[in-house]
Amino acid sequence: MSDTVTEKLMLFFPKCECEKPIIYHLVRDHDLIVNVYRAKVTPEEEGYLVLDVTGTEENIRQGMDFIRTFNVTVNSTGKGVTRDDNRCAHCGQCVSHCPTGALRIGNEATREVVYNEADCIECLACIRVCPFGACASAF
């Protein structure tokens, strides 16, 4: 069996696609392991979903091809939670609230706060505690 990889994705479902069990098919038809971090359906019936998919690169590619046959937008760099580098003052308040270390002191000498999106589990703690309003949610 080929090596498996994990990719973090953010999916946007327009109104017409929200009722289809797309994730179910990723699991059943494409042998992908799915870990959903956050999902939301808006009052306009649009949907957002941030998840990890784990599988072979080939299965992930086929799964994404399958998703794209619907009108779903796939953002393969995550971006459910973003940090505005211009607003971040690198105070480090978020660091003690971030449960996974996605936000951490990246350089002991300068005490720069770095954000590794791949480690973010979308708990949104940083958005609540950042005094500078540097962190934001896409939905």
């Binding site: 690198h90 105070c91 005490r111 005094p131 500078f132």
Partner: protein, 396 residues
């Protein structure tokens, strides 16, 4: 021994040796105190953090016909008008009109005085709305207009209290999350929050106020301003380590500078969930190395500076004065401290990153000869203690 004049002469000739309070530690270790004191002219210190006691005087100039403003709002944030006709004071912690505050706790406090100050320095167009009762000489009773900082005659920042010498480490001993100006504190001492640039902070590098006094020239968000008075709640008479470093808040500075010269990245509105709004400011202060003692004190290290750990769920609000423990900034910077056997995750509110940037920017300015030192016209008091507010049932 050097004098201010000798140091300024060297700065003007572009020959001054300038190091940051971060760099001086290793430098003195390598060169020795005596030699370093001869070589080094200036050590730059800095801090960047929320400073609630900040604000600015604005002068709008006169409209035709004229108004003597009695109530006024900038971007719906109330400003103080109990001064001359078109002078106002805009305070950092003022909420925007209609903000629900903590009506549904914790409030979000997304915009307020600190954010207006940030927007003003950033050159944004802001709305002024003002009312008046009308007089013979100032007949206009209402005005609504839009302006930028360039339209103002003066925009002078006047901060009654900046640069706290040292500060509390806040924890929460209760069984619910509390929301404070030190950030959100989780129950059961889950996290701690501190707010100081430690070994880079101005008054920790001059613990006895030997060089920083009334009249000292400072770098305030990029503008060249000065210390205009002791800061409010300045209380130099406090518990100190054997080296004289305060173990609690201690000294403060009242600072002023022209906002038209400021850089927006060092003037930032902040929102504390459940608490309110404030302003984060960047301050840099050069310390003239007049003698070995002054140099020695600029070599203070995070490991030598102790901060009091205070419970913000009970001891702080009830003013019990109880301090749970003291921890060093070196410990705080590891991201974890141990309080009574319990490991506590630590976050900061003061940005060491920005403080370091400022210390370097100021050092560059001094080296280029663009920033001269000013000798204080009066010292800061050393023996003042903090008075409480008594609650009296009747006058006299």
């Amino acid at each position: 021994m050097k004098t201010y004049k000798q140091i300024n002469d060297r700065i003007e000739s572009g020959k001054a040796v300038v190091l940051t309070a971060d760099e001086i530690i290793d430098y003195v270790d390598r060169r020795g105190l005596e030699k370093a004191a001869e070589e080094v002219d200036v050590v730059t210190t800095a801090t960047f953090g929320p400073m609630c006691s900040s604000g600015c005087f604005l002068n709008f100039g006169h409209s035709a016909p004229k108004i003597r403003m009695t109530e006024a709002w900038v971007e719906d944030v109330l400003v103080y008008t109990g001064i001359a006709a078109v002078d106002v004071y805009l305070g950092a912690t003022q909420l925007r009109h209609g903000d629900p505050a903590n009506m549904y706790p914790p409030g979000e406090f997304r915009y307020g005085g600190g954010h207006v100050i940030e927007d003003l320095v950033a050159g944004k167009t802001l709305q002024l709305f003002a009312l008046s009762y009308g007089t013979d000489d100032y007949p206009r009773r209402e005005i609504r207009t839009y302006f930028t900082i360039d339209d103002l005659n003066q925009a002078i920042m006047v901060n009654p209290r900046n640069c706290y010498q040292n500060y509390n480490v806040a924890i929460n001993d209760s069984d619910r999350t509390i929301y404070t100006y030190m950030g959100a504190l989780e129950s059961g001492r889950e996290n701690a929050s501190y707010c100081s640039a430690g070994q880079l902070s101005p008054l920790l590098n001059d613990p006895h106020y030997d060089t920083i006094g009334v009249g000292t020239r400072v770098w305030l968000a990029g503008a060249h301003g000065h210390v205009y008075a002791e800061g409010t709640q300045h209380a130099g008479a406090c518990e100190r380590t054997a080296d004289g470093v305060p173990m609690e808040g201690a000294g403060t500075l009242a600072l002023t500078a022209d906002m038209k010269q400021m850089r927006p990245e060092y003037v930032r509105g902040v929102s504390f969930r459940g608490y309110g709004v404030s302003l984060a400011m960047g301050v840099g202060i050069p310390i003239p190395i007049l003698n070995q003692d002054i140099l020695k004190r600029t070599c203070v290290r995070d490991r030598d500076i102790m901060a009091p750990v205070v419970d913000y769920s009970a001891d702080y609000p009830q003013k019990t004065g109880n301090v749970i423990d003291h921890v060093s900034y070196a410990q705080l910077r590891t991201g974890e401290i141990e309080i009574e056997g319990q490991k506590v995750t630590v976050g900061s509110l003061s940005s060491y990153y920005k403080a370091l940037e400022i210390a370097n920017l100021l050092a560059d300015e001094v080296r280029r000869g663009d920033f001269l030192l000013a000798e204080p016209s009066a010292p800061l008091p050393k023996d003042k203690a903090m008075k409480p507010l008594g609650i009296r049932e009747k006058a006299s």
